[in-house]
């Protein structure tokens, strides 16, 4: 069972997040118009998969860009201009470097979309009445509880935190 709790102010939601975590609720996520926790705002540990993707993209571009230039100007059609060497590593650097930046960024951007499974214009949570205000002026906490947990026990934990609403939902896929 998914529990969604709506708050009217950011600090209330943040306090509730800490309280609920200390009460033993796990995997509490927030939905807010701006990054609510320090973790969300600064991503201190970052996202290693994204970083690795970027690194992979850059590495691919390093090899691919140099290879294309080498093939074009050395293997396929060498141009002798003023006796300069055909395989001019220094002259191939600018294009190689720019390609690395491009591919690494593309990989990170693509990785973000893939990991977040975006674009996904409709999601089950959008069906919750008033949830759209999570991008304007409301702050939601969401967490999962075992099906045997009674609504009363959740209410006992959540109500002292001054939520505006508590929504219980079945998980649907």
């Amino acid at each position: 069972v998914i529990v969604l709790v709506e708050f009217g102010a950011a600090d209330e939601a943040l306090r509730a997040l800490k309280t609920l975590a200390s009460l033993g609720y796990v995997h509490i996520d927030t939905h807010a118009p701006f990054p609510l926790t320090d973790e969300a705002a600064y991503a201190p540990r970052g996202s290693m998969p994204l970083a690795f993707l970027g690194f992979g993209g850059g590495l691919t571009a390093l090899v691919a860009a140099y290879l294309v230039q080498w093939y074009a100007n050395v293997a396929s059609y060498p141009l002798n201009i003023g006796g300069r060497p055909a395989d001019a590593a220094a002259a191939f650097l600018p294009t190689t470097f720019e390609s690395i930046c491009l591919m690494a960024s593309l990989a990170v951007f693509g990785g973000f979309l893939i990991f977040e499974r975006l674009p996904r214009l409709w999601q089950p949570i959008f069906d919750v009445e008033g949830f759209e205000r999570a991008s304007i002026d409301r702050f939601w906490l969401s967490f999962e509880v075992h099906a045997s947990t009674t609504a009363d026990s959740i209410a006992a934990d959540v109500l002292p935190l001054h939520p505006l609403r508590i929504v219980l939902g079945e998980e649907r896929e």
Binding site: D38, F92, P94, C101, E116, P119
Partner: protein
């Protein structure tokens, strides 16, 4: 108790909101998306007229060839390259403000970074048109890309022209991703806040289904930071590569190892000036004073002063290097030709505008007066354009072969393309203001939240 999707939208405003989150900043930033002021329409008309001038000038250039320009031999590079370097320089501040200041955890950037990024995208796009037109046969522009063709002819990667293609192409694409990734949450806010079915759907498509989950924020911030780190290296490399167009040539006044840092400094300087020149009128026209505060303008002015001093240092270094070389032509270019040659008066105007103007900003009062800031920014922009004119034209007009020295007079086509490019810039910037939230809402709000609660990691 999950409600149905259809009813949810209808009841947004019926939900009670006791003493809740302050949304003035949201409404302030989204307000321009809701109205079309008369001044906007007038500027739009003006920019459209200028754009028509651009189309006519470009059409005539393509029809008649680049002989329609004032270029001659030896002044074979002129307006097209000056404009190119000027525009791409302007396109550097967006990334400078966004990427560097994001990496340095400077939250104040949020108020102006969106505008600066949009400015970057438009300016870089415009910059790209100049080398293409200068190709002479722009319809063969795709020959610059190594695509497998039956001709078996490839670009020459030892030439600076394909370097420019790689640099500008990458910069444009990476900046677009950086801009869009930061924009998605604000598009989601627009999707949920604005009225009108079609409009909401349109914003919903571009918001990609953003749901504001903490995990999503964390990933977005991480992706933004990684791309910022890449783009920080990229931005320095782009104008360095542009400067190599000059410094790999043997021409006096161009052939110098100073050029990459010199150009990067000049680029960021002119870009910051453009940010100020846009931010000052926009904040008063759209009543964004509470978002883009005097404090923000003050900091931009300080940056401008810093960059102006760095640029002055580059000018001095250029003279110093010339004084140490035994290349007599280099010495002649730097000493009699530039300050006292046929274009000497431009050199002094350049010094007054680019080095003189920012000295105003030693005064805190000047830094906080929007009209002074606006005037100074425009003066610096003009000065930076003249700087590129001095670099390009003086070196060419009096090159190593005195018998071929000549003057240079631009034609109406040159002026038409320059004025037209300014209009296109205005056109796209006005569209940006009308349809895209102009400040990074999430970051502005996060900063205020931190200031209010003292929360910080």
């Amino acid at each position: 108790m999950i409600a149905s999707a259809r009813t949810a939208r209808a009841t947004v405003d019926s939900v009670a909101s006791p003493g809740a989150e302050d949304t003035t900043v949201v409404d302030t930033v989204l307000a321009p998306l809701d109205r079309t002021p008369r001044s906007w329409m007038l500027l739009m008309l003006l920019c459209s007229a200028g754009t028509i001038l651009w189309v006519v000038s470009v059409w005539y250039t393509v029809y008649a060839g680049i002989g329609a320009w004032g270029n001659n031999i030896p002044v074979a590079w002129a307006f097209a390259i000056i404009n190119f370097v000027w525009w791409i320089g302007i396109g550097h501040a967006g990334t400078f403000i966004s990427a560097f200041l994001l990496l340095l955890n400077q939250p104040w950037r949020a108020a102006v970074s969106r505008m600066a990024e949009a400015m970057t995208l438009i300016a870089v796009g415009i910059a790209g048109t100049f080398p293409l037109l200068h190709l002479g046969r722009p319809w063969f522009f795709y020959w610059l890309v190594p695509y497998p063709s039956t001709m078996g002819v490839w670009p020459n990667f030892k030439s600076a022209l394909p370097w420019d293609v790689a640099a500008i192409g990458s910069y444009l694409l990476v900046s677009t991703m950086f801009f869009y990734l930061g924009l998605v949450p604000d598009l989601a806010t627009a999707r949920d806040r604005l009225t009108g079915r079609t409009r909401r759907r349109l914003y919903a498509v571009f918001a990609l289904g953003w749901n504001g989950a903490g995990r999503q924020w964390r990933r977005q911030r991480a992706a933004l930071k990684i791309i910022a780190a890449i783009v920080a290296a990229l931005v320095v490399s782009v104008h360095s590569i542009v400067s190599l167009d000059f410094s790999i040539a043997q021409l006096p006044g161009w052939h110098s190892t100073l050029f990459p840092p010199y150009f990067v400094v000049g680029a960021i300087y002119s870009g910051l000036a453009m940010v100020l020149a846009l931010a000052v009128p926009v904040r008063s026209a759209y009543e964004l004073q509470s978002v883009i505060t005097t404090e923000h303008l003050d900091r931009l002015a300080r940056l401008l002063l810093t960059m102006g001093l760095l640029l002055a240092y580059c000018y001095l270094t250029e003279l110093f290097l010339a004084s140490q070389t035994d290349d007599a032509r280099e010495r002649a270019t730097q000493l009699p030709h530039r300050p006292f040659g046929p274009f000497g008066w431009l050199y002094w105007v350049m010094l007054a505008l680019t080095v003189g103007t920012p000295q105003l900003f030693w005064s805190a009062r000047a830094r906080q007066r929007p009209p002074i800031l606006f005037g100074a920014a425009i003066a610096i922009l003009i000065g930076m354009w003249i700087e590129r004119f001095v670099i390009v034209v003086t070196s060419l007009a009096q090159d190593g072969l005195p018998a071929s020295w000549s003057g240079y007079i631009p034609t109406w086509v040159d002026w038409g393309i320059l004025a037209g490019s300014l209009s296109i810039f205005g056109l796209f910037f006005l569209l940006f203001l009308r349809f895209v939230p102009a400040a990074v809402l999430a970051e502005v709000r996060r900063e205020r939240f931190e200031n209010a609660t003292g929360a910080q990691s």
